[in-house]
Subunit: 376 residues, 2 copies
């Protein structure tokens, strides 16, 4: 995998880059829609490609392992063949789900035993096993198996957990080195920086992760409830340590404002369920700000959802029609709102990229943060 | 509205025709997808047009009256402008919903008082009011306000109800005559034959409906639980009485087999929630037969959903992937299954049309009924 920084903003740490994968090129900064179980909820694959203009999507190891299962994915020749998405796929490692299943899992150094949320069956994940699973899913970018600490998290636990994450990382790196890509195209590993909101732990973790010399690096354990100031401080700190010539991925972030702020800090890749999940509750992200489409205010607003964003869905359907669909729990409401939000997120990343290339990112960002975070 | 029969099958009563409306031409026989509240569930309008190749869709007066309400639809300039569907729309009259709300409605000669299923609020429908509502919705084809009798239904009640439906029809015809189209294009009335499964009542009703000399006619009160033989017998009887130079619409029918059989009896237009509703439960209608995609049998069947049907969705996604989505309650599963079923229904109607034009319908129908009704 080749990464090239093609432009740097003169007044922030923002940069534009090109990431080459076995399934084509990704232009950074980039937002990656979340396709948990092999489907970005409520969106057809051709819509992801043509309307959203997604360049890479996420799959979730925990969910895909439980259903449809690794055997079927292998038979299909990987997730790309199974769901028909031909561009790059990144899979998380299941670490975050393990963290979410707090009642139903046990973490020891060897690995994690957990109960399926579907049928209560017992399963065991190890760093090696999780690499094998992601190889079989066919991810272009494989995430290291980590423990994602909650917020708040005591220093002692954060440190112990970070040490465990580092040990697991060495096993992941080793497993990657001793196994082959499964379907003929390159598969690379991204290690994950942990350390909660503790500066010294984040510094230690970032240095350790950097020392592993993998093709890209991720920052985990943020956007789990901590104040935005902490998220930005940790991200800034870690970006200063992670190598500048490799892509930096901030996991699970965030609002449009979070994304713009973290691009300014040197982050290249983002994912978050917010644009898809909130869409299904009627929350729209638009070029003019945030809309709760369920609000009475939009009842007879026959103007397009987001004329300035352009594209079919945002200009074809009106706010009043979308509100009607959402209020009536019509599936089409979820479809339209999801397309609007993802199209907006991808547009925002593309605009940021253009501004970086023009050397105007920092000032544009200040203005844009105000617009995209205001509630209409 | 102009209707022309362009071909007749030599060995059945099937015919092909062209129906011209203010929103373009409809080729009969035709299946009309149901868009209850102004949305065909789980399908984008451009998909209806480009993938399904729908030529006309239904809207539901009862639902649209309650939400979004007539005031907003009028402000939008009608349902076409509100939901962006540019081809013809037919609205039912609410008669069927009144019948379905059996606990929450009271029928007298003047009209029907009913309670909203949404908030329990009281409303009143009269034949005149229902015409006004459909004018405002902007339907190209307006259905007369009728009472749909249940099955089984005592002769006495069926007769009394039929008489009421006829009286209401005269009031509908009168209201149509004394009001203008609302948005500059033609709006026409289709009266509805009732009479349950009683031959003499159906004959009497069909003769009365024919005497009203409206641009098209409908057959109601079937597909409500009666044996298929009764449905076919009544349809055949009524088609023999309704004028041959006007389109005949069989309401709420049905399975692919029902549709082929009733085309053979002289029906031109169909609607049914089956392809859309059953899709959401994982039941697929295909060119090879009926599939319950939840069945273990399809678990690792990586072949396209319906290669012979063609079109993007039916060839792009595999049975195993669709099964995975449906089992996981992924919205995309409902989207794909709905597109498959509607595309198949429209294909079936187009194929029937071709066979009629080729003079081969009767023998093709015998063969096709077996294929499309078999469970795979």
């Amino acid at each position: 995998m080749k990464f090239e920084v093609t432009a740097r903003d003169p007044r922030s740490s923002a940069r534009a880059g090109i990431l080459e994968t076995g399934h084509g090129v990704i232009h950074t900064p980039i937002f990656m829609p979340v396709g948990t179980a092999g489907s970005v909820k409520a969106v057809h694959q051709r819509e992801l490609e043509n309307d959203v203009k997604a360049e890479i999507i996420l799959g979730n190891t925990y969910h895909l392992y439980l259903r449809p299962g690794i055997e079927l994915l292998e038979k299909a020749g990987g997730l790309h063949n199974f769901n028909g998405w031909k561009r790059p796929i990144l899979t998380d490692s299941g670490g975050y789900q393990v963290y979410s299943l707090s009642e139903n899992r046990k973490i020891v150094e060897e690995g994690v035993t957990f109960k399926s949320h579907i049928d209560g069956s017992r399963h065991h994940f190890t760093p090696e096993g999780v690499i094998d699973i992601q190889r079989t899913i066919g991810a272009d970018i494989i995430m290291a198996f980590d423990e994602c600490t909650p917020y708040p998290c005591e220093y002692k636990y954060a440190k112990k957990s970070m040490v465990l994450t580092h040990k697991w990382l060495e096993r992941c790196v080793n497993r990657m080195r001793t196994t082959e890509p499964k379907y003929g195209y390159e598969q690379v590993l991204f290690p994950i920086v942990q350390g909660s909101v503790y500066k010294d732990l984040r510094e230690e973790s970032a240095a350790f992760i950097a020392s592993q010399d993998q093709p890209g690096n991720a920052i985990g354990g943020l956007s789990v409830g901590e104040p935005h100031e902490d998220m930005y401080a940790m991200t800034s700190l870690v970006c200063g340590i992670l190598p500048a010539d490799k892509p930096r991925y901030l996991m699970g972030v965030g609002t449009p404002e979070n994304i713009l702020e973290c691009i300014a800090l040197g982050v290249d890749m983002f994912d978050c369920v917010m644009p898809t999940r909130n869409a299904r509750n009627g929350m729209l992200f638009t070029t003019q700000g945030i809309i709760n489409i369920r609000n009475e205010r939009w009842k007879d607003d026959l103007s397009p959802i987001d004329a300035a964003l352009g594209g079919h869905v945002s200009t074809f359907y009106s706010k009043a029609y979308l509100r009607h669909l959402v209020i009536n729990k019509e599936i089409l409401g979820a479809q339209i709102a999801t397309l609007q939000n993802l199209t907006f997120y991808l547009w925002l990343a593309r605009e940021a990229r253009k501004q970086i290339e023009a050397g105007e990112f920092a000032s544009w960002k200040e203005k844009m943060v105000k617009i995209v975070s205001q509630r209409l």
